[in-house]
């Protein structure tokens, strides 16, 4: 596997391989000397057109733990009218010797284009493109579910019921998670106000709901809350942030409805008091910091898979 631009690039076996590899990388991260020589001599560029401190440092640390050289390139959003084109930037980075480009871009499809249009030869890893996909986030979420429910020896995630809640319309995390969780045999339900629910996700195998409480009554094993940007209010998606929080925040009565042995996830950064209450974020069932830890292991596994010559 050379590129990872979409969960669709992965077979089920490859996805499981990455999760297993992430488990071993996790063991490395627990050692005193947290470094492997695997990618020594390789150059990895983090090409970030959007601010994303956590994803960027996670990829940066993952590359460093594998002994690769890392360059961080924070680019202003390019367009044909202003500044350098994506094609020129990518070709420039490749001319400097980049073996892999980890790209975060506000426009959907940008990572896919870099991988397919013949502009560059480097491996392309999608660190989030527009509202399309964020495949390493989905992988780290699957890794977290697997650990939390001790499914390391199971073939996949079948039997798991995952509820994803929030701004689905603008969320690349929701799309990648839906694709990967279905691939791994989990049941996925998506709950959102109808204005933030894009049409047709049922065709990808999701059960759809416009009522958070009803979804919680179905006793999901995993409640995954998504960030909702307050700016969305300008697009008339909901009347006010207070009204959104009243109906859609994981708090109070709804937090009490989460099963004892279920887990709570959030990709971060959180809007505490908006889509998630502090009580939920700091609850013993919360796996939010595990997600961050697993992000590092999963990204090490992905870089290893895309850049080492042999298969895992």
């Amino acid at each position: 596997m050379k590129h990872l631009t979409s969960i669709n690039d992965l077979s089920k076996d490859q996805a499981i391989q990455i999760l297993e590899s992430a488990d071993s990388m996790g063991a490395v991260n627990a050692r005193e000397i947290k470094k492997l020589p695997t990618l020594r001599g390789k150059t990895i560029v983090n090409l970030f057109y959007e601010n994303s401190t956590r994803t960027r440092i996670s990829f940066e640390l993952a590359a460093k733990r594998l002994s690769a050289d890392v360059i961080n390139f924070a680019a202003a959003t390019s367009s044909v009218s202003k500044g350098e084109s994506l094609k020129d930037t990518a070709q420039t980075l490749e001319a400097l010797g980049a073996d892999a480009i980890v790209i975060r871009h506000p426009m959907s499809g940008s990572a896919h284009q870099l991988a397919t249009r013949g502009w560059v030869e480097a491996s392309i890893i999608n660190a989030g493109d527009g509202s399309h996909e964020h495949p390493t986030q989905a992988l780290l979420d699957a890794c977290t579910i697997r650990q939390s429910f001790k499914l390391e020896d199971s073939a996949d995630l079948s039997g798991m019921k995952v509820l994803i809640v929030g701004d689905i319309l603008h969320s690349r995390v929701a799309r990648s998670n839906l694709l990967l969780l279905k691939k791994l045999g989990a049941e996925v339900e998506i709950a959102a106000p109808a204005t933030l629910m894009p049409e047709g996700l049922d065709r990808l195998g999701a059960k759809l709901s416009n009522n958070f409480e009803e979804s919680l009554e179905r006793k999901p094993n995993v409640v995954m809350m998504l960030r909702v940007q307050r700016e969305r209010m300008n697009g008339s998606y909901f009347p006010s942030s207070r009204e959104y929080a009243q109906s859609w925040s994981l708090s109070g009565k709804r937090l009490a409805m989460v099963q004892k042995d279920s887990i709570i996830m959030h990709p971060g950064p959180m809007n505490r008091g908006f889509e998630i209450s502090s009580a939920a974020a700091d609850d013993p069932r919360s796996r939010i910091l595990d997600q961050v830890r697993n992000g590092l292991s999963v990204r090490m596994a992905v870089l290893h898979m895309c850049l080492s010559t042999g298969e895992l």
């Binding site: 367009s79 249009r117 527009g130 049409e199």
Partner: protein, 426 residues
């Protein structure tokens, strides 16, 4: 000098020779002698007429000029192009439409008939100089803000009323701008999956319905540009049944291509209105077959490479289409749809000529200008991205299509002969 084209087939199925002298057709039928050009196997159509071409000049000569667009046009069998008004400066005044007219005459490949803007600067606020464009040498009768919808219902009503005085028609780009803010592709399950902002079919259909009712109210003539959805076909069918003066066009790409191509994120497939679903394509074909849709129009929209060699959201909307239109129509209307050559002729030549009021186009008759497209329906060809257009944003590149234009004559002169562009002394 008299010139005879022999052994042609006409769209009514009969065989005929055509004699041309001084740019005019002088005889049709069995002509004695054996001199002239043997055209056995070719169908003689009146030169094609495109109601919707972006020639980009003045202002965007890097993408196309009136000359290169004209050359691409004759290569596709066209002898008249209606040049859209979204140039820079905008064709919203007599001076600019006369400039475009003159550039067309100077190029001298085919008839370039300027379309005038409906509103000043295509801004949708104040009416452009409709009357003075009509009275100018360009004699403009078709007005369009294409690229933008005339969204203000009062402005649209006034435009429909005002052009009645000189037999004008308003060609509307039907797109509710509020419902399509930031839109990138057809709205549906696929746009959800690809994470691209959707362009919903209701944004097209609601404007068609509104404008049809306005046209009915004021008795004006309305032409619908590039219809793309099944619902839009229904609305136009309903409007025609009510007796509203409405005509509609469909593009070759919306007849043949569907949104699935967007999966590649290749901006060559980015167009406005967007490629739709196969159900829409099927409804458009049906609408064309039953006469709800009157004409094929290319919406030929050339763009330079850098406008397409970039992120999907940053890429320009539009596709070239002059040199593939007839082949797409032949495939859809005749090969798949089972219709006949006379229907083909109406859709690509005679009806658009009537809508645009071009009396010298759209028919082959003794005493009229010899504007001819001689078409070989038996051949097939694989399309190259490079055409006579200055731009290469060709979505049919690599596709195999039936039929080819072998000769194009404009005012009796070969502009394309044996599929070769004739270089003119200008």
């Amino acid at each position: 000098m008299k010139q005879v084209l022999r052994n042609l087939k006409l769209s009514n199925g009969s065989g005929a020779d055509i004699a041309i002298e001084n740019g005019l057709v002088v005889e049709i039928g069995k002509i004695s002698g054996s001199d002239g050009l043997d055209c056995a196997g070719l169908v003689a159509f009146p030169g094609f007429v495109d109601l919707h071409t972006h020639l980009r000049e003045p202002g965007f000569e890097g993408s196309e000029t009136v000359l290169t667009g004209s050359q691409s046009g004759v290569a596709g069998g066209y002898t008249a192009l209606l040049a859209m008004a979204n140039t820079d400066p905008v064709a919203d005044n007599a001076g600019t439409v006369e400039q475009v007219l003159d550039l067309g005459r100077k190029a001298n490949y085919l008839q370039v008939q300027p379309i005038g803007a409906v509103t000043k600067g295509l801004e949708g606020k104040e009416l452009a100089a409709l009357g003075s464009m009509n009275r100018s040498r360009a004699n403009v009768t078709v007005f369009s803000d294409d690229g933008h919808c005339v969204y203000d219902p009062l402005v649209m009503r006034r435009a429909l009323e005002y052009v009645k005085g000189f037999g004008g028609v308003i060609a509307q780009h039907c797109q509710d701008p509020r419902l399509t803010e930031g839109s990138q592709m057809n709205e549906g399950a696929l746009s959800s999956e690809l994470g691209l902002v959707g362009w919903s079919s209701v944004a097209e259909e609601s404007i068609i319905a509104r404008d049809a009712l306005l046209a009915e109210k004021v008795g004006g003539r309305l032409h619908i540009c590039h219809l793309t959805t099944a619902g839009a076909v229904d609305v136009v069918r309903w409007a025609k049944k009510r007796g509203i003066k409405i005509t509609a066009e469909v593009t070759p790409h919306h007849l043949l291509l569907t949104e699935d191509l967007v999966r590649s994120y290749d901006p060559v497939y980015k167009v406005n209105p967007p490629l739709r679903t196969s159900e829409d394509t099927e409804a458009l074909r049906q609408g064309l077959l039953d006469g709800t849709i009157d004409v094929l129009a290319t919406d030929h929209a050339p763009h330079s490479i850098e406008k397409k060699d970039c992120e999907w959201d940053n890429a320009a909307f539009g596709m070239v289409g002059l040199e593939t239109a007839a082949s797409v129509l032949y495939k859809v209307l005749i090969e798949v749809g089972g219709s006949d050559l006379s229907h083909f002729e109406r859709v690509i030549s005679s009806t658009p000529a009537k809508i645009a009021g071009l009396d010298n186009q759209g028919h082959i008759s003794v005493g009229s200008e010899a504007n001819l497209a001689l078409f070989d329906p038996s051949s097939s060809r694989t399309i190259s991205s490079h055409t006579h257009s200055k731009s290469t944003n060709n979505p049919f590149s690599g596709v195999t299509l039936p039929g080819s234009v072998v000769h194009t004559l404009y005012k009796g002169e070969f502009k394309i002969r044996d599929q070769k562009l004739q270089v003119l002394d200008v």
